[in-house]
């Protein structure tokens, strides 16, 4: 950056600060300044704000006129205040010539300083007027500044005690008329400049609006304070009205440069926004806690009366109240501060860090919805979709807001391995150079995407590669596990049906035939044949009974016939250990859910009978919002473990395969409890 320009950007505030300090010193002299000390101090603070922040902006962004205009206003004001103070002081001390020149300088600075403010409003925040059509306004203001300065330089002093050292007395009336005309034109031009802010707001895209928002905050705050001050003053409540008036001056003098500083520098100095953010949070918190304390102590104190004891109690109560509200209040304040500072819901750093943090801890089936949501909330998008690649196409895998999710999810063909066919701006997600998916973002129409947001999204998309890869791997795995379980169930059902329609049916028919054969043998008097046929019949009956139990174990017909409730009741009736069925769900569920639940309870009860040495077991299957909650417990010896080879591992795997989870509580001597959750709709 240009060295001399930077030097000027530093020199002006330095010089202006020296003037401010000198003015402050002069103000302390008797009779130099008539105003009250608070206003004096505020004016000096305001000037300091203008020059310091103006200097910073001019130094960082010398091509932007805003910084220079702030320096002009601040420097001009500093010089004006100083020259005024110096004139008064010099006059009092008898240095009339010095006083005259100081007064002349003061008058000469007037129009230049004054012109800075409308010009600033005209060009904030870009450094240029909203459009070339506004350029004449700027030229008029500048012309007034030049001509006005010339008039003031040559016109007689308005003060009787001092005289303009270079006054041209002959043209004084003409100058006076000119000055009046200039003032009128200036007021008109200044009003146009204020109007330009509104015009700019209506035309502006997101980043510019965010900048203007700062100015709007200042304007609204100042207006509110001014109205409040006038209103309370009119009501005679000067104790309230006067401080509001002071606050108005403070906001107006410091607000413009501070808002400019935050708006223009936050992309160039990250520290500023953090400081501003923290200031808002802690300022709001301090105000809140103080007022809570005051309300509790004053309010409750008025009710219960004051005594030493009650004071202590009130203090404790106030502290407790403050402690209770501090955390939620802090979150609110933080959100408020974020909203003010960033204009959207999270800062880029927060977004990036939350993104990796959340995605790192999200369960795999939750990672993609989380991702869509974080991006949407983070950049204030209308709609965010996460696409996953399946072969040569992209398929929408997740969407935020969920209401926007289309059914069936849209899919797009890939062109040259690029997600170029998507309707919204797309940010490819890659892992080791391979395209895995994309994030598409639809911004609100009035806030198109900025290059900064696009860069942020590119960064997030590249961060997402690993997560998306994991998510798609896990999804594939989950789908194939579900397929395995479903086909396993299908297989069992088919097997049971084959047994039922085949072997069982034939054997029953056979037993009928045997019985008839035996009748004939008995009728023909062949006792030996009859008796051996009877033996065969008995054997066949036992085989049938065994086959029946086997088939029931493979897949209980009643589960398909009457559902989970009936199947569980049947199971409980057959259990060799007394089973209390505390709760069974009505209605039907998807086959894998019913089968998994049934086999889980069946296997758990079999374990109770075989290993637990229990006198009692209980089963509860409850329907939650979107899942079945299963609990099988016994009062046996406990000490079971999932890896203990009692079939629990297989159960846990089976439950996991349908997206559920299983838990085992089995302390030695304290019974065993199998807990599981299985998603269902």
């Amino acid at each position: 950056m240009n060295r001399p320009i930077r030097a000027i950007a530093l020199a002006i505030p330095t010089f202006a600060m020296l003037l401010v300090i000198a003015s402050a010193v002069l103000f302390t002299q008797d009779g130099v300044f008539g105003g009250d000390p608070v206003s004096n101090a505020l004016i000096l603070v305001g000037i300091a704000c203008y020059v310091v922040i103006g200097g910073l902006i001019a130094w960082r962004l010398p091509e932007n006129a805003c910084g220079w205009l702030l320096l002009l206003v601040g420097g001009g004001l500093a010089a004006a205040v100083f020259s005024d103070a110096l004139a008064t002081y010099a006059l009092r001390e008898g240095f009339v010539t010095l006083a005259s020149w100081a007064d002349w300088a003061n008058a000469a600075l007037f129009f230049v300083t004054l012109a800075g403010i409308p010009l600033y409003l005209l060009v904030f925040p870009t450094g240029r007027p909203p459009s070339p059509r506004w350029r004449p306004v700027a030229i008029v203001v500048i012309a007034i500044a030049i001509v006005g300065t010339l008039v003031n330089v040559l016109a007689p002093s308005g003060d009787v005690e001092v005289e303009n050292p270079i006054v041209v007395a002959g043209i004084a009336p003409a100058l006076e008329a000119l000055r009046a005309a200039l003032t009128l034109v200036f007021v008109a031009a200044a009003m146009l400049c204020v109007a330009s802010v509104v015009v700019r707001w209506r035309r502006a895209a997101t980043p510019e609006r965010l900048h203007l928002r700062w100015l709007a905050v200042v304007a609204v705050l100042a207006a509110a304070l001014l109205i409040g001050s006038i209103a309370f003053g009119a009501l005679g409540l000067h104790r309230i009205g006067d401080p509001l008036g002071v606050a108005f001056i403070l906001v107006l003098t410091t607000g413009i440069p501070v808002s400019a500083g935050i708006a223009l520098l936050r992309h160039h100095a990250h520290g500023i926004e953090v400081v501003a953010n923290r200031s808002i949070v802690y300022g709001a918190l301090a105000a809140l806690i103080t007022s809570t304390y005051a309300v509790v102590v004053a309010g409750a104190g008025a009710v219960v009366g004051r005594s030493e004891r009650s004071n202590v109690l009130l203090a404790v109560a106030a502290t407790v109240a403050a402690a209770i509200i501090v955390h939620p209040a802090r979150q609110r304040a933080q959100r408020f501060a974020d909203l003010i500072i960033y204009g959207y819901r999270a800062s880029p750093f927060e977004l990036v860090s939350t993104f990796s943090e959340r995605l790192g801890s999200a369960s795999y089936d939750d990672a993609l919805p989380q991702m869509a949501r974080l991006v949407a909330d983070g950049i204030g998008a209308d709609e965010v979709r996460v696409w996953l690649r399946t072969g040569a196409e992209l398929r929408a895998a997740s969407c935020w807001p969920p209401a926007a999710a289309a059914s069936p999810p849209p899919s797009k063909q890939l062109v040259d391995d690029e997600p170029s066919e998507l309707d919204d701006p797309a940010f490819p997600v890659r892992y080791r150079g391979m395209l895995l998916g994309a994030i598409t973002v639809k911004m609100p129409p009035q806030e198109p995407m900025t290059p900064a947001t696009a860069r942020l999204l590119e960064g997030l998309a590249s961060q997402a590669g690993f997560v998306v890869r994991n998510a798609s791997l896990v999804r594939e795995l989950q789908v194939s596990r579900e397929r395995l379980v479903t086909s396993h169930d299908e297989e069992r059902r088919r097997l049971e049906r084959d047994l039922h329609d085949g072997a069982q049916q034939r054997l029953v028919t056979l037993s009928m035939d045997l019985r008839q054969a035996r009748s004939r043998a008995a009728a023909s008097g062949d006792a030996e044949l009859s008796s051996s046929l009877e033996t065969a019949e008995g054997e066949l009956a036992r085989s049938l009974a065994e086959l029946r139990e086997l088939a029931r174990g493979i897949h209980p017909a009643i589960l398909t016939q009457n559902g989970l409730g009936a199947a569980l009741r049947s199971l409980a009736e057959r259990s060799p250990v007394p089973v209390e069925l505390r709760c069974v769900p009505d209605g039907r569920f998807a086959d894998p859910v019913e089968a998994t639940t049934y086999f889980l309870v069946s296997e758990a009860l079999a374990n109770v009978a075989k290993h637990a040495d229990a006198s009692h077991a209980s089963v509860a299957v409850r329907r939650g919002v979107d899942r079945l909650e299963i609990e099988v417990s016994d009062d046996g010896s406990g000490g079971a473990s999932i890896e203990g080879g009692t079939g629990l591992r297989g159960l846990a795997d089976r439950v996991a395969a349908v997206g559920g989870r299983m838990d085992l509580r089995s302390a030695p001597g304290a019974g065993t409890m199998v807990l599981a959750e299985i998603p269902c709709v």
């Binding site: 049916q505 029953v508 017909a557 060799p576």
Partner: protein, 219 residues
Amino acid sequence: MRVAIADDAVLFREGLARLLTEAGFELVGQASNADELLAIVRGARSSRRPHVAVVDIRMPPTHTTEGLVAAETIRAEHPEIGVLVLSQYVETEHAMDLLGDGAGGTGYLLKDRISDLEGFRDAVQRVGDGGSAVDPEVIAQLIGRRREADPLGDLTDREREVLALMAEGCSNRAIGAGLFLSEKTVEAHVRGIFTKLGLLPTTDENRRVLAVLAFLRSA
């Protein structure tokens, strides 16, 4: 007594038909699914209408509970026709469904029972006459079910035997015949059982089946 049968397994159905004919029943129709059976029941003149339908529980098209549904339909349309449902497995649930409100005329047996010629013939006869038949395994399972406290603890062995036969749907006379007791003695046992179990006494044989099963199931 006229009988219609329904089963999708041809071999079994033929065997069953032969067996019923030999047992002295008049076979008025064979069906391979519930719709055919209903057509037989609905289409026949009342003189050719079966007194009892013997139905397989699992038939096409879904192979689940077609038999139970058909039984319900027949009972609703023709309360005078008994329905005996056969199954490869017995489930208390199905027995209770069939017994309904205890009006009788229903039966639920394991398919294996057909090899016990006399017992099976009795059951068909009983259901056709408006009585009830519940498979002994259902009763055995309910009585033998493991509980914290045995609800039948107060019953004597003899009373348990009477209870089991009563629950299968046997009449007092049949119980007496089975246990070599006089009908009067059986009546006394039945009264004693009802008192000990805290059940309301009833002389209706179908209702007492339902009462006993419900008691065993809930206890």
